[in-house]
């Protein structure tokens, strides 16, 4: 078996499905809502779980920095652009959904306060910085 045939016969279906799902198709709202919500919840829980462990690890620290707002904000911005490209009439509606995702992100962070009494919870300050990445990009995409 050659390398080419190995790659050609690989299973790319789930990734193609994911790319399709991230265009926020209007007939699959529940699906992408669940997926993006799960993504944001897992990011926030991972960020907070890294709060007190691997204190000398550069990798853990960089990951925590990225998860503070940058990764989530950039992914949501990219999703808005991609969704607007595929479904141009839904740009403004998708911005509303993006706001809902930020609310879910916040709730996930605050949920941790139920688990550990000495923790920071959601960082609304840096989430707002994230929103300043996501929403301007989404608004420009909706306008164009």
């Amino acid at each position: 078996m050659s390398l080419t045939s190995l790659i050609e016969n690989g299973t790319w279906g789930p990734f193609k499905d994911l790319l399709q799902l991230m265009s926020l198709p209007p007939d699959r709202i529940w699906q992408w809502m669940l997926f993006l919500s799960a993504f944001l919840v897992l990011c926030e829980l991972t960020r907070l779980a890294l709060g007190t462990v691997f204190t000398r690890s550069v990798l853990a620290h960089v990951l925590r920095c990225l998860l503070t707002f940058a990764l989530q904000a950039i992914v949501l911005a990219a999703v808005l652009v991609w969704a607007d490209h595929r479904y141009p009439t839904r740009g403004w509606i998708n911005l509303g959904y993006a706001l809902l995702f930020y609310a879910i992100w916040y709730v996930a962070g605050q949920l941790v306060l139920l688990a550990r009494p000495d923790t920071e919870g959601a960082d609304l300050g840096f989430m707002t910085v994230g929103a300043l990445i996501t929403f301007p990009v989404g608004i420009v995409a909706a306008l164009i």
Partner: protein
């Protein structure tokens, strides 16, 4: 620091027991009685029995894992990570095949169950890791090591904007009010980079270095290993979610490590809002260099988000608080509150009056060390 009412460890343990019974017991039942169960719920029989049995076996294993967590949660943090991974993957594929291939509704019960337990396991993980920090954050002052009390304390800190030195001034006040003589050492970087106010370029350099934990070096603290201090208090601020480079450099320099070995030490953190990781980093450093941590305090600057966060950006950008002037009524102060300062005075007093640990415990600790 925040302190909230939380779900008890017992509560999390019983949630683990619940999924242990559901996963381990449920999957045995499912393998034995899948035909009548599937008929009862109108679910098509599995087409691939190997995969069906395999998934049941995998799920059973996670049940065993959850039972071990139930039995000994404090030793089970790695198992919780495995549980989180397993349940998240199971939930993901259940939802994926539900939407992609029309997996029957019956299976969604398991998908939702595992999705919820992914979050529960995550929360329990956060509960069980670093329990010593929770004890310290409760405000407890732990008993100190068995060694003569010289009533001399050393404060080591770095302060770029003045918030840290303000906090340490209060700790000093508390210590001195209880008869301590206090000396101070500032962590002075050998690089000119760490100064305030700074230009945008310098800020970006500090930021990138903080994110990637690029170390710096500091001028010698000049404290001999056989110093007379019976207590050392170290302060650090938050730089991009971590402790500041000059303070960390004090520990990274091998020559300084003997300063802390076998001594009572305490940690103070001041920041805009993210204190947890810098505090953990500072305390782990103190322990790593042989210090006996007896207390810790962390304080955020006052104000509500997101105004507090943007106030910090304006402060760092303009080099002074309350600028730009037209936002003066909105911007929050860039140092800890008067209440926090009073608490730090009390912290200094409590440190000065700390107990000594019983000799048998001290002996056991020294044996372990």
């Amino acid at each position: 620091m925040h302190f909230h009412k939380a779900i008890s460890t017992k509560g999390f343990r019983y949630l683990c027991l619940l999924t242990a019974l559901a996963n381990a017991g449920g999957n045995i039942g499912l393998v034995l009685f899948y035909k009548p169960i599937f008929q009862l719920f109108g679910v098509p029989l599995p087409q691939d029995m190997f995969s069906f049995a395999f998934v049941c076996g995998f799920s059973f294993t996670v049940g065993v894992l959850a039972f071990i967590v139930f039995l000994a949660p404090e030793k089970s943090a790695p198992l919780l990570v495995v549980g989180i991974t397993g349940k998240a993957i199971y939930a993901f594929f259940t939802f994926y095949f539900r939407f992609h291939s029309g997996l029957p509704d019956f299976y969604m019960v398991f998908g939702w169950w595992d999705a919820v337990y992914t979050v529960i396991f995550f929360m329990f993980l956060m509960r069980v890791v670093s329990p010593d920090l929770t004890v310290l954050n409760h405000g407890n002052i732990l008993p100190g090591v068995v060694r003569p009390r010289t009533k001399k304390a050393l404060l080591i800190y770095f302060s770029m904007t003045g918030n840290g030195s303000r906090a340490m001034k209060r700790v000093r006040e508390g210590l001195e009010s209880k008869g301590y003589t206090v000396d101070e050492r500032m962590c002075e970087s050998t690089e000119a980079l760490f100064h305030f106010p700074f230009s945008l370029g310098v800020f970006l350099r500090i930021m990138i270095r903080a994110i990637f934990r690029v170390p710096t070096t500091i001028k010698p603290l000049g404290i001999p290993a056989n110093h007379a201090y019976d207590l050392i208090v170290v302060e650090s601020q938050t730089w991009f979610v971590g402790m500041s480079a000059p303070v960390e450099a004090a520990f990274q320099d091998q020559n300084n490590r003997s300063i802390f070995a076998g001594r009572d030490v305490a940690a103070v953190n001041v920041c805009r809002g993210l204190w947890q990781r810098p505090q953990a980093q500072l305390i782990r450093w103190l322990e790593r260099v042989g210090g006996h941590v007896v207390g810790a305090r962390a304080y955020e600057n006052p104000g509500h988000e997101p105004v507090r966060c943007f106030s910090l950006f304006f402060f760092l950008g303009t080099g002074a608080p309350g600028r730009p002037a037209f936002l003066n009524g909105i911007l929050t102060q860039q140092h800890i509150t008067a209440e926090a300062e009073q608490e730090l005075v009390a912290f200094g007093q409590a440190l000065a009056e700390r107990n000594t640990m019983p000799v048998d415990i001290a002996f056991a600790q020294s044996t372990r060390a």
